[in-house]
Amino acid sequence: MARSVEGGFPLRQAVGLPPPPEGEWEVSELTTKTIAALRDGLRERDFTAREIAEQFNAAVAGARALNAYTVETPEDALACAEAADSGKASGSLAGIPLGIKDLFATRGVDSTAGSHILKGFKPEYESTVTANLRKAGAGMLGKLNMDEFAMGSSNETSAYGPVLSPWRRQGSNVGLTPGGSSGGSAAAVAAGIAPGATGTDTGGSIRQPAAFVGICGIKPTYGRCSRWGVVAFASSLDQAGPMARTVRDCAILLEAMTGFDPRDSTSLDVPVPQWEAGLSSNLKGKRVGIPKEYRIDGVPAEINALWDQGIAWLKDAGATPVEISLPHTKYALPTYYIIAPAEASSNLARYDGVRYGLRETPDGGNLDAMYSATRAAGFGSEVVRRIMIGTYVLSAGFYDAYFTKAQKVRALIKQDFRNAFEQCDVILTPTAPSAAFGIGETTDPLAMYLNDVFAVPASLAGLPAMSVPGGLDAQGLPLGLHLIGNELDEQTVLNAGLAIEERAGFTARPEKWW
């Protein structure tokens, strides 16, 4: 997109700068730039926030075939751009428009968690995380599609229909999943219709989609991001985090999103580090744990080869690989599929047709019939499945056998990581056991759950974890590497991610077909 020559360079003139050299006045495709480049370019007045917002708004409107956005809010992005251009906003994200996962309550804008039961719900308040981003000057491009109530790994459970990944297998036009549950966020960043997005991660919902579309995503330590105003799925696991093209952009967004919030009883009252300023890919003295239990059957050789490559990259950055053992790894998924549905069945009891959302009242039906009809009409099949599992494992006579047992195994999984971090500073694994698969290709719920086999243990232990693109598979699809850090040590995770990013040189982008 070119800026009109007749318009001159009002911003440059206003601050007494000469026009830019011949040939450089064209505003290049701002939608291809990182958040750091947009921020720095705004500071240098190479372009205006309005130009950024306009280009992204146009890109969003031109990419509806991806089904990434459930609501578009171009006026919001423009208003924040005006505030940035006029100097009224000066935060770290002034003039940067973002995509917001539909799980976050955004005041006056539909916030539906990808569910029919919340269709039309317009919160009267703003989630803490999005309020923090707004305070930093960010605008909103729209709400991003997701698996219903964040329950899914492929975005196929959304009431709005699946998001399509901008990526396709070489020589194929089969529609692929961007992963889930933050599939809209992943697709939007990969397609260049958002420079960054919020995601949430309960058992891998930031990291698996980030890996599937070749971007970065980090889930911080449990309690770093406030859960206030984030639609609850499994409260002891839910954490928000950023998804963006680069490690630096993730650091910038994470700094703006996190912080103590008295409105969330599990929010951590600890200072927010300056993660961006602390970025360094020199890993001298760092020990990288390689858990032997993550070498599992059925994982494609390419993924294990990338893992080995990742070890070599971190070694090159100065780190020392050490083999570690996380003996309870194989029990993490079954533990998760007791705890997460149990908490979900409790959390989702609030959708009763009384206070908000859908209401179905059968003719002559009483209050109980209204509850049951509303919930039957409002919830999709995966949500029903998980509520049913959760209700069962919490029911009288089964609670100890399932729920208490799972909480005990969870304690052992946490202890595994405590022991491991005596021997290492960060852990490297693959992010997901496969590359992106086709929409409709995985129909067995258990097979779908296996997508998160590498991601779930860190969630159960509340640890910071990140996916960074490592390379492409033989079909031309992105694969991710996964870094797990010790409690509150996001910095080492980001730094190891940066070391991989610098060495992987991952610049592949999906070819535009939408």
Binding site: P334, V354, N366, A369, R385, T391, K405
Partner: protein, 100 residues
Amino acid sequence: MSVTIEQVRHIAKLARIAMSDEELARLEPELNNILGWIEQLGEVDTSSVEPMTAVIANKLRLRDDVIDADPLTGGGKRDAVLANAPDAQHGFFAVPKVIE
């Protein structure tokens, strides 16, 4: 442990989700598959393990015992609270008749 159709019906009732016989029949094997897979936790010796209560050590705080200490979550918000209600009448949530 596995569940029968009658147990699935009971769970659906506890969860307040209306279900036809066909839906119950479809869910029964699905739930049994998942429950059968979860059974493997039985292999883990947890006899000397305390169940986890908090994943990151934290203290539960008490807020100041002051009315409307946080104006955003304090009182006086009737209209905002009712704004998304499917049926609000006379400043209340309206529901089907409960007492005959």
